[in-house]
């Protein structure tokens, strides 16, 4: 999968132990690095604190979408049943909200859930099928049982040697370059 054109775009430190990873992440956070991330086979609790990540905006997005859905439902049922095509059914009032509550609720949930799905794709930066992690063959290990701290050095601010030294200091014994296939085009096919 990699040929001679591969270019080094960063550094990866691989850990076998989750405690070592969390401690290393705290060290890296305190050293003030940018462009780094932890990659794990499963969600590690407390790692966001060790990494210093801000709380996710996902709940706000989802709640907002749900409220939009609620308004759409109120407009849809009321607008169509009472204004656009008013027709009296079963002796009920034209704006019989009691009978519309199920639709209010369902559209609230539907919109919120669509927003949740969209949030996963957007905030987790999915839909980018190509990455240096795949190229370097590191994904195979971090989807199974190993933990990685990954630095991207495309902007050239940080030297590979400094990073390597710091990773070694955290007790990392498996440090590899992050490689990217040069002439790869970014489409999936």
């Amino acid at each position: 999968m990699l040929d001679a054109n591969a270019k080094t775009v960063g550094m990866v430190g691989l850990y076998d132990n989750v405690d070592a990873l969390v401690q290393a992440a705290a060290t890296v956070r305190d050293a003030g690095h940018k462009n780094w991330d932890c990659h794990t086979p499963y969600p590690v609790h407390g790692l966001e604190k060790a990494m210093g990540i801000k709380p996710s905006p996902v709940p706000t997005v989802i709640l907002t979408a749900g409220l939009v859905g609620l308004i759409v439902a109120i407009a849809l049922t009321g607008g169509l049943s009472a204004i656009h095509y008013p027709i009296r059914i079963g002796g009920k009032a034209l704006l019989s909200w009691q009978a519309f509550v199920p639709i209010y609720f369902e559209l609230f949930v539907l919109f919120a859930a669509l927003a949740a799905m969209a949030s996963v794709i957007f905030f987790c930066k999915l839909g980018r099928w190509h990455s240096p992690l795949h190229d370097s063959g590191i994904m195979k290990e971090i989807t199974c049982d190993r933990f990685a701290i990954v630095f991207e050095t495309r902007d050239g601010d940080e030297s590979h040697e400094d990073i390597r030294a710091m990773l070694e200091e955290t007790g990392c014994r498996d440090i590899r370059p992050l490689l990217e296939q040069e002439d790869e085009d970014n489409s999936i096919i």
Binding site: G91, Q98, A99, V101
Partner: protein
């Protein structure tokens, strides 16, 4: 061995101690309740109002106490770990079941046998003679069977409450039998079954049969949902007060434990709304005369405002108040929401009971206030007595260690 275990845990919670403030508060409320009740009992018209108010506040007290008993049983049934540190407060409330039974006696005497309160139309023979439907219901709705049922209900509740509370208190001192935890868990299964049936039929007897022509199959679930909310609110108030007064340590009853209580409260607020809406919507939709009369009475005149207030007080406000994670962990917010929810339970019961006496216009005067004050005073007196004798936490529970380290 158990004794040592309990001794090593004794430092986790404050020792039993009298609380003069609580005793004083209980005394003031009780005296005030009696002072308002006596004149209400003397007048003929006021006596009926007093009777309805007595039933109203009695059912409120009953729902808190029986709901707490259910909470205790549920924790044993599920082998719940997080709740061990706060279970004692629920046990404390559940332990007052004998007091509830005692307070039921005036209702039985003056509500059923002497019919001084004119509560239940089916007690009055002239009503029964004039109604074919009431005659048909006689095999169920008659004074003797009503009394037998109430006796059976209270016997079951008192027996289970005594068993759950006594075993937990014995564990405090390491005096419980070795397999007490397993025995409690085994008792919790049958208890839950008996609870479901007795709570349903008590709700039918004491509340639904005020209008003996009306019926709703979901009524037992409706009473249950309100009862759980009310008892969770009462438990939360007790926990927060004990924590503020320092008798429960903040590092023992943590924010995570409070959060779990908050989540349960939030879930049951939603559950109540779901049940209440289902009942209302189905009756509204089918629009059958034998059912709608009940709702019609509660949606006409000034009762409409009470109905709307009920939806706001019991669902909308607490829903938004408890929505965020932070609110469910904040003792101050939990305390005030719990007070609000207890008021909501009283409003709900008021909405269920009072329209049978006052159609078109809800009435709330001094005649109604005696019984609630009296019963609150009685409960607080009982609570102060309990806290003076027993530890505020189940320090002998074998699951306590795990519960202490419970984190979200």
């Amino acid at each position: 061995m158990n004794t040592e275990h309990a001794a090593s845990k004794a430092g986790l919670a404050g020792a039993p101690a009298p609380s003069p403030t609580l005793v004083r508060l209980a005394g003031i409320l009780t005296l005030l309740g009696i002072a308002l009740s006596v004149p209400a009992l003397l007048g003929e018209a006021d006596r009926t109002r007093f009777g309805f108010a007595y039933l109203w506040s009695f059912v409120g007290l009953w729902s808190v106490v029986l709901g707490s008993l259910f909470f205790v049983g549920l924790q044993h049934l599920t082998g719940s770990i997080w709740s061990v540190v706060i279970r004692r407060t629920a046990e404390m409330l559940a332990g007052s079941m004998w007091l509830v039974a005692l307070l039921f006696l005036p209702l039985l005497l003056f509500g059923i046998f002497f019919d001084q309160f004119h509560l239940f139309p089916w007690v009055d023979e002239s009503n029964v003679a004039g109604s074919h439907l009431l005659q048909e219901k006689q095999p169920y709705l008659n004074a003797t069977f009503f009394t037998v049922r109430a006796a059976v209900f209270f016997a079951a509740w008192i027996a289970f409450a005594a068993y759950f509370v006594r075993t937990s208190l014995e564990m405090d001192h390491g005096r419980a039998p070795a397999d007490a935890g397993g025995a409690l868990r085994r008792a919790a299964g049958p208890f839950t079954l008996i609870f479901a049936l007795t709570a349903t039929f008590a709700g039918i007897d004491w509340i639904m049969s005020l209008d003996p022509y009306w019926f709703s199959t979901i009524f037992g679930v409706y009473i249950f949902s309100g009862m759980v909310v009310a008892s969770l609110a009462a438990i939360t108030i007790a926990v927060v007060c004990l924590r503020e007064s320092g008798r429960l340590r903040r590092d023992v009853v943590t924010d995570d434990h409070l959060y779990s209580l908050g989540v349960l409260m939030f879930v049951f607020v939603c559950f109540w709304a779901y049940i209440a809406f289902s009942q209302y919507m189905l009756i509204w939709y089918a629009n059958m005369p034998e059912e709608t009369a009940y709702l019609h009475n509660r949606l006409q005149g000034n009762w409409l405002a009470v109905s709307i207030a009920l939806a706001l007080v019991r669902f909308v406000v607490p829903f938004f108040a408890l929505l965020s994670r932070r609110a469910k962990m904040n003792p101050r917010i939990l305390f005030w929401v719990s007070i609000w929810l207890l008021a909501g339970q009283l409003l709900d019961l008021y909405w269920l009971i009072m329209p049978e006496l006052h159609d078109h216009h809800p009435v709330l005067g001094w005649q109604e206030l005696g019984p609630p004050l009296l019963m609150t005073g009685a409960l607080l007196w009982y609570v102060s007595r309990f806290l003076a004798r027993h530890a505020p936490m189940a320090i002998g529970d074998p699951l306590l260690d795990q519960s202490l380290s419970f984190r979200l």
